[in-house]
């Protein structure tokens, strides 16, 4: 990356952080649009609670716990990187990855059970939204895991030292994915 020439740029937030926040800003209306559509359609018609009662609440609760904890572990990794404790950072990144994989595994288990019971996206509008929203979210979790794996391997080999701020940036994305789940969980499973 080119070195900054300007005094101006030193007064702003670093380049990577600004770029990441703009990226998050563009993701918010994607899920926001889906969630807004879900809420209004649900408020406008009946019968969705019956459908949502077939969801596996326990698994979703476990998933919530996994994702919240992974948010904690990734920010711990960031704290470790900040004091150049790369081994500790690698451990926390590894934990984050495992928790993310656990989330996806649970989600896959949920989907297979539901499909096994005959609940497909075409089974009704609640199910359409359920699969659409959680599916898109799961794809974002997967993308985050891939990024985290890349960073973890850089931490292990030591090459992360050249761009340590990337753990924070990956963390910002991961927290957004967590925040989206914070809303999806009650919307789909508790309401």
């Amino acid at each position: 990356m080119t070195t900054q020439t300007a005094a101006i740029s030193e007064m702003e937030s670093p380049v990577g952080k600004n770029g990441t926040w703009w990226f998050l800003a563009s993701e918010i209306p994607i899920f926001g649009g889906l969630i807004a559509a879900y809420i209004v359609m649900r408020l406008g018609s009946a019968g969705w609670s019956e459908a949502s009662s077939h969801l596996n609440f326990t698994v979703a609760l476990l998933n919530t716990f996994l994702l919240l904890t992974s948010s904690m572990t990734i920010v711990m990794a960031h704290a470790a990187v900040q004091r150049a404790a790369l081994k500790r950072a690698a451990h926390f990144l590894g934990l984050t990855i495992l928790l993310g994989l656990g989330f996806l595994g649970m989600k896959a288990f949920e989907y297979s059970t539901e499909i096994g019971h005959g609940f497909l996206p075409s089974s009704g509008i609640f199910w359409s939204f359920y699969y659409g929203m959680t599916g898109l979210h799961a794809l974002h979790v997967l993308a985050g895991i891939i990024v985290n794996v890349v960073l973890w391997s850089q931490t292990v080999t030591g090459s992360l030292a050249q761009q340590p701020h990337r753990v924070e940036l990956a963390g910002l994305y991961w927290h957004l994915v967590d925040i989206i789940w914070i809303f999806l969980f009650p919307l789909l499973y508790l309401a």
Partner: protein, 93 residues
């Protein structure tokens, strides 16, 4: 110095877990409308905690706040625009 940060992150994590427990309890104990209000208020608080403490929003410049907040405002506007047609659909059905 950083063990202070780490302890802080752990404390926030405990709060988040506690809030999940509150939501779950509310869902089974409270009547439906009250539960919904509580659960979504809790969700907003949880999101706020993650944003403020894990995403370090409290340490960032005002522009970052704006970048994070403005999209949410626009999503609210979209939601408001959808309500007449999909919630109050008095002209159809």
């Amino acid at each position: 110095m950083d063990s202070v940060h780490e302890r802080h992150y752990l404390i926030i994590w405990l709060w988040l877990i506690a809030l999940v427990a509150v939501s779950v309890a509310a869902a089974s104990v409270l009547p439906k409308p009250h539960a919904i209000v509580l659960i979504f208020s809790v969700a907003i608080v949880k999101a706020f905690l993650v944003a403020k403490h894990y995403m370090h929003l409290k340490n960032e410049r005002a522009i970052i706040y704006a970048i994070a907040l403005v999209p949410i405002v626009f999503v609210m506007i979209l939601f408001l625009g959808l309500v007449p047609d999909f919630v109050w659909h008095l002209t159809k059905k």
